[in-house]
């Protein structure tokens, strides 16, 4: 065993841990948007036919970036709770509005809670 071997092993470990962290964080972000999260306070997507909730997809553009998106035209209106005849009434027993906003603003907490588990060093509650 040489110092070079040690460095190579450490580098490989960092690479694997980084990928694992990206996958876990991205999955947690998607879950916060679709199902809600006690970490971010996001309520998740409201459900009627299930079309909007099922439309959110997670894609990995590169080893260091991920994208969560939906192609549903009314997603913005649901996110902001913008109704056509006054305040929008939530008729779904689950979910709510502002899930993306809450997820974005709670992102650092989400990362801390997920990465702590990835590294085994106990993340934020």
């Amino acid at each position: 065993m040489s110092f070079t071997d040690d460095i190579n092993r450490f580098t490989a470990k960092v690479r694997v841990t980084s990928l694992e962290s990206l996958v876990n964080v991205a999955s947690a972000v998607k879950s916060s948007i679709t199902d809600g999260s006690p970490v971010t306070g996001s309520p998740g997507q409201p459900v009627d036919t299930g079309t909007l909730k099922a439309s959110w997809i997670l894609e990995f553009d590169s080893p260091t970036s991920a994208r969560i998106s939906t192609n549903v035209a009314y997603a913005s209106a649901i996110e902001d709770g913008i109704g056509s005849h006054g305040p929008m009434t939530l008729r779904s027993p689950t979910g709510g509005f502002h899930s993306v906003k809450n997820t974005v603003l709670g992102f650092s907490r989400l990362v801390a809670s997920v990465v702590g588990g990835t590294t085994g060093r106990g993340g934020a509650p």
Binding site: T40, S76, A77, G81, I82, S84, H85, L105
Partner: protein
């Protein structure tokens, strides 16, 4: 913990104090279709189509909505009562007078802008020891949805929303009882922003303004 009712009312009060455009006290006349002026400029004062205006010191001070505007004339939706030019009159555009405050019954009126609010709390967390007496961090969002008129262009709604955002810039402090609430926004956390212009049924086009905030207070553990 902060008083969430006081916090929500404090946000409302700050929105209600918004002035987007004003003539100031000046010589103004009312016509059958709107308002005119001999000096100054309505455009320079910041008025745009779609803005709701509140006249003052006229004999009749009915709130109206601008259909078209030039330097010297505002044409409103709906008729006005003619009045000869008089002094110390003003026209002000600010937060729409129709307001769908949270948990209040509300139905929008055709050709009348309105706003709607959402006040959200996010999970809180202790920042220091001990639990009792430690620093508690609370965060949340104040979302104000501005429903402007459809078909009048972007200028009125964009200028209105910009004026609202200017009252909630990152670092703005809002006093809530004995505590202070601060508008968030830095290189590492999102600040206030206006969403996409969304056209909806009923003749409105809406923009949601999101204001993230944080508050620190002394945590109290109740036995």
């Amino acid at each position: 913990m902060i008083d969430t009712l006081d916090a929500q009312l404090a946000f409302r009060a700050r929105c209600e104090a918004l002035v987007i455009a004003t003539t100031g006290a000046t010589y103004l006349a009312a016509t059958a279709t709107g308002y005119t002026r001999a000096d100054g400029s309505f455009l320079d004062d910041g008025f745009e189509s779609g803005m709701e205006i509140v006249p003052a010191t006229f004999v009749t001070n009915t709130v109206g909505v601008i259909a078209t505007v030039t330097d010297t004339e505002i044409v409103t939706f709906g008729a006005r009562t003619s009045e000869a030019e008089g002094a110390e009159r003003s026209i002000v555009a600010g937060l729409p007078t129709s307001r769908a405050w949270e948990n209040e019954n509300f139905t929008g009126t055709t050709n009348t802008p309105y706003v709607e609010e959402d006040f959200l709390m996010q999970p809180s967390g202790l920042q220091s020891f001990p639990a009792h007496g430690g620093s508690l961090l609370e965060t949340g969002l104040y979302v104000l949805k501005w429903y402007g008129l459809s078909g009048v262009g972007v200028r009125g709604l964009r200028r209105s929303v910009a004026g609202l955002l200017a009252r909630f810039t990152p670092g703005t402090v809002i006093t809530v009882g004995d505590a202070s609430l601060r508008v968030r926004g830095s290189l590492t956390e999102s600040g206030p922003y206006a969403g996409q212009m969304i056209r909806v049924d009923g003749g409105w086009t809406a923009i949601a303004v999101t204001i993230p905030w944080r508050a620190e207070s002394i945590n109290a553990v109740v036995s």
